[in-house]
């Protein structure tokens, strides 16, 4: 009798969990803790802190996985509007920390509305295109692009180039998947090339410097080039097999800046080498492939678009971070998903993955 209830409860508890996705996430988290332990010089404070972050993120993932997609759909517009209002609030009276206006004090605590936008933007766009399913015209795409560019512009102005790029990417994936015509895409490509000088002129000095640094890091080896040079040295000197866990000289002699957060991949790569990199890319691919499968089998346009965008955003995180650490992309503040220390990104990524699970586990219900 008790066994029955236990089993029933267990079934209820795990009903909306996607096994393959959860498995790869747990593997990534395990790798993350191992690297973090080394990156924080065998210190337990960060590792235990990160464990708490992971626990919270997993709980959030479970909750979201149990929320049916149609409920999410109802949330799309209000969440987006709230996000937008908060972003405007930040622009007007946000708190400046480290030279960037990213935080908003809401009395109890400080929040970073751009994090909310990471989910709110693709959610909104997916909802919008779903609403006009079957009657989509060019006008819808223009409005969709505007909906996207609003928050992206506000975030880029903070300035937070990393988040802006990620949100732009996630929104763009929705537009692309929703069927943005190739002609417009080609036109946008041309416009982007033509607009580059204008964007350049609007950029902050340090942002320009980061791009210049990418072209020639040695131009400013102790300034903006320092991060790239030292992280590239860490990656390169790792070789095929790596220097071994806890044995990275670049890491432990403090040559890698931000080594528990944005540059944690340099630590990993130095200590585990090319083989380790391949393992990590493999784990990321597991999540991505599973996400793409979920997207392609999703029942409605909303869920398809949302699942596709979340998966590809996840990919973008990983790619941009690893690209930046290995010196092929400019230094933008993008964490390595599941590995970098920090609760916010951990929770927002798991929230996305929870949505993927929800989409997958609720698909039959929606078919009827």
């Amino acid at each position: 009798m008790i066994a029955y209830y236990v089993r029933r409860f267990a079934r209820l508890f795990t009903a909306h969990i996607d096994g393959p996705l959860l498995g790869s996430v747990l593997l990534l988290m395990a790798v993350g803790l191992v690297v973090l332990y080394s990156a924080s010089n065998a210190g337990w404070t960060r590792v235990s802190g990160q464990m708490v972050n992971m626990l919270v993120a997993l709980v959030v993932m479970w909750i979201v996985a149990n929320v049916p997609p149609h409920f999410l759909m109802r949330l799309a517009l209000p969440v987006f509007v709230i996000g937008l209002v908060l972003l405007v609030g930040v622009a007007l009276k946000g708190e400046v920390i480290n030279g960037a206006r990213r935080w908003l004090n809401v009395g109890v605590t400080r929040i970073q509305p751009s994090e909310l936008m990471k989910i709110a933007a693709p959610l909104m766009l997916a909802w919008y295109f779903h609403r006009y399913e079957g009657t989509l015209r060019a006008g819808n795409f223009v409005l969709g692009a505007l909906l996207l560019l609003g928050p992206v512009g506000l975030i880029a102005r903070q300035p937070d180039l990393g988040t802006a790029v990620l949100i732009l990417a996630s929104g763009s994936y929705v537009l692309f998947l929703a069927g943005l015509s190739w002609k417009i895409l080609a036109g946008l490509g041309v416009a982007a090339l033509a607009g580059a000088p204008i964007v350049w002129s609007m950029m902050h000095g340090y942002q320009r410097q980061r791009i210049l640094t990418l072209i020639d890091p040695m131009e400013d080896p102790l300034g903006t080039g320092y991060h790239t040079i030292q992280s590239t040295i860490a990656v390169g000197s790792g070789g095929v097999t790596g220097k071994g866990w806890m044995s990275g000289t670049q890491t432990h002699l403090d040559f890698i800046p931000e080594r528990t957060t944005d540059f944690i991949f340099a630590v990993y790569s130095e200590e585990f080498g090319l083989l380790g990199n391949m393992l990590l890319m493999g784990l990321f691919l597991l999540v991505i492939v599973r996400g793409l499968v979920i997207a392609s089998s999703a029942p409605t346009l909303f869920t398809r678009l949302l699942a596709g965008a979340i998966t590809l955003t996840f990919f973008t995180y990983a790619f941009v971070n690893m690209g930046m650490v290995s010196g092929i992309l400019p230094v933008v503040g993008v964490p390595l998903p599941m590995i970098s220390y920090g609760g916010t990104s951990m929770v927002s990524i798991c929230l996305g993955l929870g949505i993927l699970m929800s989409i997958h586990t609720h698909r039959k219900l929606l078919h009827t």
Binding site: E133, G134, Y173, F176, L177, G179, Q230, T232, I233, A234, V235, G236, S237, G238, G239, V240, T249, Q250, L253, D254, F255, S269, G273, L274, N277, M278, M281, F284, L285, I288, L292, A295, S296, L301, R304, G308, L312, F315, F319, M322, G323, S326, G327, I328
Partner: protein, 633 residues
């Protein structure tokens, strides 16, 4: 309901098409993902396989710093093992000006934590001017443990300020040995250039100090040792994290001097407040037993860099404490020159010991009358008496008979007018006058009248106390001459091998033993029944000696020198040369007491004290001041 069917059909197809299109786009994006990951993988392969060695080298260069391991400087001891210069570990508070920001503010706030005296500030200012801003310069030396702790607790407030453990040079005996031991000081640009020329620069990486004068300078190479190399792992802030490998430095060799510290201390004290110099040699080896120049100075002032005020005091003092009188001070030898003149007369055959002259109290040369000390003369004077009573007339005549060039030729064999080659830098050559010398020096011919006063050690004659000591030592040693040397042997710290410094004779003058015997008998006579007899009365040994009084200013024709009338600075110098025991001399010395008047009165007593101590161990209370190493600063 065909229409409915149709319409739903369209919708269905639309939806179908849309789903189809979505899958196409998703596939495109999947391809994009694969492509980007492939790009990333290519980048990893490039970095970690193809360029791995390059980045490995960079990472190693990042973390490894090659640091010189400075050798310990050799210790200098006297013949009995008493430390005259040694090292101790002390803590200094050092500022790197380029990292510290405003130096004055930094020093002010440091002053609240550790005591910083005005002298420290002045000294630091001086260092600052002489050094480059990235060098670490000491503001305080010899920090107490408490001061170290106080600073350590507040070090975060002081970027560019560090506590360093350093080996310090210390000269426990202070000014008594200052001129002979010398001191070390911070390496200056000139010395750097010279090290570079000698190819020694690499060996001095990590060394801040170099010998400036004295033994510290002349034995720099030996004392310094060989610098080792340490490979140290450093972090990004340049702090040493751990030692990777080490080629140990080879410490400098120790120097054991021939010098007897007790003798030196006693001799230094014997001068009292007088200025002067004394050199005592072992006539059988040329080893320096005592090397005194008074006043001295505290060599420890120079080790951390001397402050301008102390430096000015030393430099502007009328007593000229920085002058090494024994080595670089030159004095007319006065009557101490006479025995050498007599030896020259015997060797050249100008006189026999028995030949007598009649001394009326003066020597008439043309219309110039050269006066004798004794107003009415010494009567009949032979060679023995000429030395014992120090008869001037005898030597006026002798000099006139010999001629200046014969005198110069003989005296140069005894080492007058040329450097002895002692193992100290900065030796003066003195002046041994000759026709050639005068022509070179003044572009003038020699006047025969000038030769006369040369005979009694006046005129152009000017020699260092060291030269005088070397000359009397050579006579005492029967004409066998040694190069004077302060250091007895060099002791390798590791192998304990002792390398003696020049035990071989420099030259044998080949003098007739009978001639030497004659001179020695007369010198013994001086201390027995002559000008030195009162001072050496009751000595338990026989000794030879000769007094001398050197004029500082010329006395006008017909005037008589009266001590009380002459300003202290212009009074005569008192000189004395001596050796003992007469049978087989083990000590020979020369000394000068500046402006002290008659040699027998001012100089001879010092010689007596020195010989009494050296031969009999008497009067050792001067050695009580000597500090053993146990009493560290």
């Amino acid at each position: 309901m065909p229409k409915l069917l149709f319409s739903t059909g369209v919708e269905f197809r639309d939806s179908q098409r849309e789903q189809q299109q979505f899958k196409v786009r998703l596939t495109i994006l999947s391809a994009f993902v694969v492509l980007m990951f492939a790009l990333l993988l290519a980048r990893f392969v490039f970095l970690q396989v193809l360029q791995r060695d390059h980045y490995h080298t960079l990472a190693e260069a990042n973390r490894i710093s090659v640091v010189p391991a400075t050798p310990g400087r050799g210790v200098v001891t006297d013949r009995n093992g008493l430390e005259l210069a040694y090292n101790y570990t002390g803590h200094t508070l050092e500022i790197t000006p380029s990292k510290a920001g405003d130096v004055d503010t930094t020093i002010d706030s440091l002053g609240e934590i550790v005591e910083i005296s005005p002298r420290d500030r002045r000294r630091f200012r001086q260092l600052l001017e002489e050094s480059k801003s990235f060098e670490s310069l000491p503001i305080r030396t010899r920090l107490s443990d408490e001061e170290i702790a106080r600073f350590a607790a507040r070090r975060y407030r002081f970027p560019g300020v560090e506590i360093k453990a350093r080996l310090f040079r210390y000269y426990p005996q202070g000014e008594m040995f200052s001129h002979v031991i010398g001191y070390i000081g911070r390496i200056n640009q000139k010395e750097l250039d010279r090290l570079d020329e000698d190819g020694e620069l690499a060996n001095y990486r990590g060394t801040d100090y170099i010998g400036k004068i004295g033994i510290e300078q002349s034995y720099e190479r030996v004392l310094h040792g060989t610098t080792g190399v340490e490979q140290v792992e450093i972090d990004s802030a340049g702090r040493a994290v751990r030692l990777l490998s080490r080629t140990p430095p080879t410490s400098g060799a120790n120097l054991v001097l021939k010098l007897d510290a007790g003798l030196q201390a006693l001799a230094y004290k014997a001068f009292g407040d007088r200025r002067g110099a004394l050199v005592a040699l072992d006539p059988q080896t040329g080893g320096v037993l005592a090397f005194v120049s008074r006043p001295g100075f505290d060599p420890n002032l120079f080790v951390d860099g001397i402050d301008p005020q102390s430096w000015n005091e030393l430099r502007n003092s009328p007593d000229r404490p920085m002058l090494n009188r024994a080595l670089a001070g030159t004095y007319p030898p006065g009557s101490t020159f006479k025995p050498f003149m007599a030896l020259a007369a015997l060797t050249t055959g100008k006189r026999t010991p028995q030949q007598t002259i009649n001394d009326p109290g003066y020597f008439q040369f043309g219309n110039h009358r050269f006066r004798d000390d004794a107003e009415f003369g010494h009567g009949a004077v032979d060679m023995y008496k000429s030395i014992v009573v120090s008869c001037d007339t005898y030597y006026y005549m002798l000099a006139n008979d010999l001629g200046i060039d014969a005198i110069a030729k003989f005296m140069s064999r005894l080492g007058f007018g040329s450097r002895t080659g002692i193992d100290l830098v900065g030796e003066a050559a003195g002046i041994l006058p000759s026709q050639e010398w005068k022509m070179q020096r003044f572009k003038q011919k020699w006047f025969a009248g000038e030769t006369v006063s040369i005979g009694i050690g006046q005129g152009y004659n000017s020699y260092t106390p060291l030269q005088l000591a070397s000359a009397i030592a050579t006579v005492a040693n029967d004409g066998v001459m040694f190069r004077p040397h302060v250091v007895d042997y060099i002791e390798d710290l590791r192998t304990k091998v002792r390398t003696p410094v020049e035990p071989k004779p420099l030259r044998n003058l080949g003098l007739n033993p009978d001639h030497i015997d004659t001179i020695k008998k007369a010198l013994v006579g001086v201390n027995k029944e002559g000008t030195g007899s009162s001072v050496f009365a009751g000595a338990e040994y026989t000794s030879g000696g000769k007094t001398g009084t050197a004029q500082v200013i010329a006395i006008k024709q017909g005037d008589k020198y009266v001590e009380g009338r002459v300003q202290e600075r212009f009074r005569d110098h008192a000189l004395f040369i001596a050796y003992a025991p007469a049978e087989k001399p083990t000590i020979a010395l020369a000394l000068v007491v500046e402006n002290a008047g008659f040699g027998a009165r001012a100089a001879a007593p010092i010689a007596r004290q020195v010989i009494d101590y050296y031969l009999l161990g008497k009067g050792g209370d001067g050695t009580a001041e000597l500090k053993r190493v146990e009493s560290t600063p």
